[in-house]
């Protein structure tokens, strides 16, 4: 009966005023929408605009409502759905801590090279890897590290931008 759930990445350009993130997040929780990841930072320090990138999931009807409801928030400049309206590039960064010695440690380092992760901290029995890529790539990396002594993961959530010369 119900249309299948789809994953969408939505960018929201907002005025960086007090409480603006709470408005965005409150909209999602208040109306029962999902947030899979959310990133936010000021992108223009003179205009004081921030860019919120939300990865959400829902039926096409729900996604349409999410966009419409976001546009209704007063401090919102614009809303773009990178999944439907423009081809976008998505990247996420993660810091991944793996502990171990011997073969497992060597294997962790070998896999990190395949994934082009950087080692940003090391002790005799631990690494912290910095890895950037699409969320699925990070998922795969984390899964591979799990049996090799994974102890901690910190992910930034998705940042997204369109391909080509056009701005948002």
């Amino acid at each position: 009966m119900r249309a299948p759930t789809e994953r969408h990445t939505i960018a929201v350009l907002v005025d960086n005023e007090a409480g603006v993130l709470a408005r965005v997040v409150g909209l999602f929780s208040g109306r029962g929408y999902n947030i899979e990841s959310l990133t936010v930072a000021e992108v223009d320090h003179t205009a004081h605009t921030s860019r919120v990138t939300v990865v959400t999931s829902g039926t096409p009807e729900v996604i349409e409502q999410i966009e419409a409801q976001l546009r209704r928030l007063v401090p919102v400049h614009s809303v773009v759905n990178w999944t439907t309206s423009a081809p976008g590039i998505e990247r996420e960064m993660a810091l991944v801590k793996v502990t171990g010695t011997g073969d497992k440690r060597a294997e962790a380092q070998r896999i990190s090279e395949i994934f082009r992760a950087h080692i940003v901290d090391t002790t005799h029995n631990s690494f912290v890897f910095e890895i950037t890529g699409a969320p699925e790539k990070i998922d795969n990396f984390v899964d591979l590290m799990r049996p090799l002594g994974l102890v901690d993961v910190s992910r930034t959530g998705v940042a997204a931008i369109s391909r080509g010369p056009e701005a948002m």
């Binding site: 409480g19 709470a22 208040g30 003179t46 205009a47 605009t49 419409a68 409801q69 400049h77 614009s78």
Partner: protein, 601 residues
């Protein structure tokens, strides 16, 4: 979208000679510049500087309510009956939290409210200070927008933006939270004309391509129906006038939501009555069977649609709304028009005339014949009685005896509200004030206070229930203080009638906590407040008492003792379609709602 980074949100330049005012004075000055004449409020510690500024001027009259919820509903009644925003002034903490119900009510019914709250001094925010509450946090979900003003230099801009946001586009409530130190501090005042919001834009002009598509559908319709809502009323009296013109040109039938009553005159032959859960048989069957539905300023609320997947299955739907988020929210539509109702109706009329469109007369004749068959069911009929006052009879008599007068009706929430909506005939917009979306018991009495403030000579009647009216009874005191001769017409059936009805239909007649025990003597209560108390228990004494109520120069509590067992029909039970209505003579005792329906409200 405006992404021009140059238009910065800066404090107004400190021009030599600019008007220097304290924050409190700025609030009053801004209200004055916005044309505000009355505000409703309640003082307290964190808002004293503004009350001090009120004391020292005569341009704006402050109405002291007895509870902040009462103040918000009074402001709603004021707004809904005038088309102007309602303004409320309350203190921090409990003052603000008491306003939350009125804010939510105004949000769901699109009523422009400006609620100004005092807040503890800036340096105390976050310290759990006395009467501190996170007002912007609490009201974020129940306002169109809100502000905490930390710098007095921002205050006049925020005040004017607040009016702009509350009154334009889809109207709604806003909150301005002002710390006490900001009310004392001085800064430059700027007038309303200087304000241009950075991001807030309203699209009110219709896309003409969509209008043409709509006209095309309408001209080819065999079974058309106008389904109108509160958006027509919010757009202003011009929209109601244009709607009448369009109906006169097309000859299409009209039904309306609860919020839209009065936009189209109930005396017109095209009027089918209220639609939805307690709508008429003809309106709901027409909704179900129509082939072109023209929804104007309504939002396909669950009280209107019934079971959504059985809602008007074979119709093409035109949907006019000023709020783009309403399009395709509950029901997929074929021709969306995002615009102000009056502007869109003007274009629809223009294109209908210039393209020389005609309704399909033979088809329309058949459609009306079908509608007349549904009308013949007389779905609002009830069993008359000479022993008991039937609530329907009471409303019919109230209507008959107030016809031709300058009448405004407010209601509480429940059976009496639905009977009033079904039976009281409204000919004009802004005459009917009721809590639709939120369904707030206790709305009607304070709303009547607000309406009477705006219309001193008018006959303002709150059609009430004995349960609802006790929720905000304290506002009788406000009515007495300000010589507001509001009439509280209580259909007293000693039950929370709609709760009792649902318990009868859904819960096996187990009337859990729906009996109004230990009721006050409303006649003595009225007298205690300094008003007039009346009571009627028999049908034959009703007319004289109603006339006595109308002629009284004071606020009146009229305790109308009605049949306690009467149910409100017709009714679409939860989880059923429009063509599965139950009528009054159907079944009274059996359970009619499926288990699935019981899950709904």
């Amino acid at each position: 979208m405006d992404r021009d980074g140059t238009e910065l949100k800066m404090a107004p330049p400190k021009v030599a000679g600019a008007l220097e005012l304290s924050g409190a004075q700025m609030v009053i000055r801004a209200l004055k510049d916005q044309g505000v004449k009355h505000i409703f409020g309640y003082p307290g510690g964190a808002v004293l500087p503004i009350y001090d500024a009120i004391f020292q001027q005569n341009d704006i009259e402050h109405v002291l309510c007895r509870h902040e919820q009462g103040a918000t509903h009074a402001a709603e009644g004021y707004a809904r009956s005038t088309g102007r925003p309602g303004v409320v002034l309350v203190t921090s903490g409990p003052g603000a939290t008491n306003a939350v119900t009125g804010l939510t009510d105004a949000l769901l019914d699109s009523i422009p409210l400006i609620v100004i709250c005092g807040q503890v001094a800036s340096h105390l925010i976050g310290t759990d200070a006395f009467q501190e509450a996170d007002t912007v946090g609490i009201t974020r979900a129940c306002t169109k927008h809100n502000w905490l003003v930390k710098d007095v230099d921002d205050l006049s801009r925020v005040m004017h933006e607040a009016f702009q946001i509350a009154t334009t586009g889809r109207p709604g409530p806003v909150v301005i939270d002002i710390p006490k130190d900001v009310q004392f501090k001085k800064g430059p005042y700027t007038g309303p004309q200087a304000v241009k919001h950075r991001t807030y834009r309203v699209k009110s002009d219709p896309d003409l391509g969509q209008i043409v598509k709509a006209i095309e559908l309408m001209a080819n319709a065999k079974k058309p129906l106008f389904y109108t809502g509160g958006g027509i009323i919010n757009s202003g009296p011009v929209a109601s006038k244009l709607l009448r013109e369009l109906v006169a040109l097309t000859g299409f039938p009209v039904t309306s939501t609860l919020m839209g009553l009065g936009a189209f005159p109930a005396s017109s032959p095209e009027w089918l009555g209220l639609v939805g859960m307690h709508g008429t048989y003809e309106a709901n069957h027409a909704m179900h069977d129509c082939d072109v539905m023209i929804c104007l300023g309504a939002r396909f609320d669950d009280r209107v649609t019934g079971k959504i997947d059985l809602f008007s299955p074979d119709s093409k739907k035109i949907h006019l709304d000023i709020d783009p988020s309403q399009i395709n929210k509950n029901v997929r539509v074929d021709v969306p028009i995002v615009a102000d109702a009056a502007k869109a109706l003007k274009e629809m009329l223009h294109f209908w005339k210039t393209q020389k469109k005609k309704s399909d007369a033979p088809a329309l004749k058949d459609w009306w014949a079908q509608i007349d068959q549904w009308r013949a069911k007389k779905s609002l009929d009830y069993k008359a009685s000479t022993k008991l006052i039937k609530p329907q009879y009471a409303i019919d008599r109230l209507y008959a005896l107030t016809r031709g007068r300058n009448v405004f009706i407010t209601t509480e929430v429940g059976q009496h509200q639905m009977w009033a909506a079904q039976r009281f005939k409204f000919e004009e917009p802004n005459r009917w004030m009721t809590s639709g979306g939120l369904g707030t018991m206790g709305y009607g009495l304070p709303a009547a206070v607000g309406v009477q403030m705006a219309h001193p000579g008018a006959l303002v009647i709150d059609i009430a229930g004995e349960a609802s009216v006790q929720m905000t009874m304290q506002e009788m005191s406000t009515a007495v203080q300000y010589d507001l001769p509001i009439k509280i017409f209580i259909l007293n059936n000693e039950y929370m009638g709609m709760v009792r009805q649902w318990q009868q239909l859904l819960h096996g007649g187990r009337y859990s906590h729906s009996y109004s025990e230990a009721l006050p003597d409303f006649v003595k209560l009225a007298e205690a407040y300094g008003g007039v108390g009346l009571r009627a228990s028999m049908p034959d004494e009703l007319d004289a008492k109603i006339l006595e109520m109308i002629d009284s120069p004071k606020p009146v509590l009229f305790d109308v003792r009605v049949d306690p067992k009467e149910n409100c029909y017709p009714m679409i039970p939860s989880g059923r379609a429009h063509n599965e209505m139950i009528l009054s003579d159907a079944m009274e005792e059996e359970t009619v709602v499926s288990d699935e329906g019981k899950m709904l409200v």
